[in-house]
Symmetry: D2
Subunit: 179 residues, 4 copies
């Protein structure tokens, strides 16, 4: 279509919208951080919620992650309002088992922190702890077909980031870098 | 949301919608087959358009492919109608360079026929031959941010399928299987 | 390198090698089928081990799957024999947490049956039921850094295939196709 | 296998090995940077080789990238020495068209900087400019089945990184951030 001559992406707008949309759809940073605790508590017993929140925040600064969050939530909202065309409307509204575009967007989030996050994503996506259980409440009037996968993926990515950071820290303890 | 008790996915409906939506958005099987010819003519000089069409048709029977086609076209249509929320509306409308969810859906199509299709996808997506050039016409009033990647991915997948089939055929010629 | 003029891929050789290598490394079709039962029993209580075995067999006929199996097992064997160069030798030998090429090869298997398999892959990879527990025995003299992810991925793919087949069957029951 | 009690990953060792192995296999940072120039010159005419080199260096600091580089080069070396088991030996030695594990490792590199890099990867992988042409010389006694895809993927990733950086810079010019 004829493109606006004045189009200039403003990354700050994209970043803010990501945070706002998550909140409006009922997901807080703390709730995602609790999923990180759930995934990592056996490996890092001393892990704090605050540290997890910082890692979730870092994941959310990535453009690739923001794109997936905004696109997924948009499709959920449109499905909720019945504004998608059939049969896509029915597939997303019913979280159809053979519809996998939600997992695909989720995987694009996990990929940013590498393949070590796949396992954690699959695990929370199956068990649906914490906020994921709420998002999956089939009696609710909301549609979170995309959002629950996306939230699980953000938690898995934050766990991967944490694993990388912990390794870096451990190495510094063993052999402190020269000045 | 409260799920319709009577929801039953009808795969035939999904398959038909995929074909119809492609046509309505101006893409024929023949045009996608021409991309396959473009990609494969150096390797299989005797390749016919009809054979390519059959391979494109086969790719389009896969549910994973249908899901990506319907989801991508739906987002294109909504962007065209200005019905997405900002800043997603602007990003898709302008085919924003840092927005990559179109490539992600495309990759989910390529993946079904394996990694040997990545190269072909990237190649047509960069060169934009045939129908891809039309879909990319920035002066048009249509938005094909998702569709052009999706069509390239279908052509790349059909090329992969063709490579697998040709190998099978070649082997039969060399050593015909025992009865 | 100068290529053998007589090189002709024989797909049957690749397929047979895949089956043999899995067996030699201690993994049977039945053990993978048991993972499929583990993953699907809640959804299809009447599922038989035989049906799962057939689905595992079908997954193993795919070239993309065979390539990943052979490549992964080869790296495991070389690590076991201490024939890899440092630091790769140490990373694979110790199933290093930040080394993710095993998950990457596994994902290439899952992808062939689409994104609905990601969740199942992550779930078994985390829980390590059945044969996966044996493969992960850190006291053993074997190295299965790649194989355990690969076996989990085959089980997840077979589960995806099963879900697609069951849907097809269900639809036929509801509305039998016209002759 | 019984794990060395003293195993401690040293990330610096992994990073150094990555740089050394690339050099030993005949690939310099400058040659990869030239691929970035090839990919980006139309969009950023003022782009310098030095700037591209810095972006390539940054890509090479990522663990996920290092893992793929080391694993791919290791397989190339073993194929060159004839130390892989048949039929994997023949497939890698002959850069078999239906063998796609090289593209899979390459994609894991591209993914780290997001899906916008897929197109660039496919494009250079098809055209084989600069160093990629040398690596693909079928008359040479070396085997670079994995390395050529990996080098193309590093160049595509560096291009993605550059696109993100340029956007950030452009935004600062338009609306300088508040103190």
């Amino acid at each position: 279509m004829p493109k606006s001559k004045l189009y200039n992406l403003n990354s700050q707008t994209v970043a803010s919208a990501t945070r706002e949309w998550l909140l409006k759809r009922g997901v807080t940073i703390t709730q995602i951080a609790e999923l990180v605790i759930f995934l990592q508590k056996d490996y890092f017993p001393e892990l704090t919620l605050e540290e997890c929140e910082l890692n979730v925040e870092a994941v959310l600064t990535k453009r690739e992650v923001q794109n997936a969050v905004l696109t997924g939530i948009q499709l959920d909202i449109l499905a909720e309002e019945g504004k998608l065309l059939p049969p896509l409307q029915e597939m997303i509204e019913n979280d159809e088992g053979l519809y996998g575009c939600d997992e695909i967007l989720a995987l694009s989030i996990v990929n940013v922190y590498g393949s070590i996050g796949f396992t954690n994503f699959g695990y929370v996506d199956k068990l649906k702890p914490g906020i994921l259980k709420q998002l999956n409440d089939k009696e609710s009037s909301s549609c979170h077909t995309f959002l629950d996968d996306i939230v699980g993926a953000i938690a898995a990515s934050a766990s991967s980031r944490l694993a990388h950071r912990n390794q870096a820290e451990r190495e510094n303890r063993i052999e402190p870098p020269l000045d």
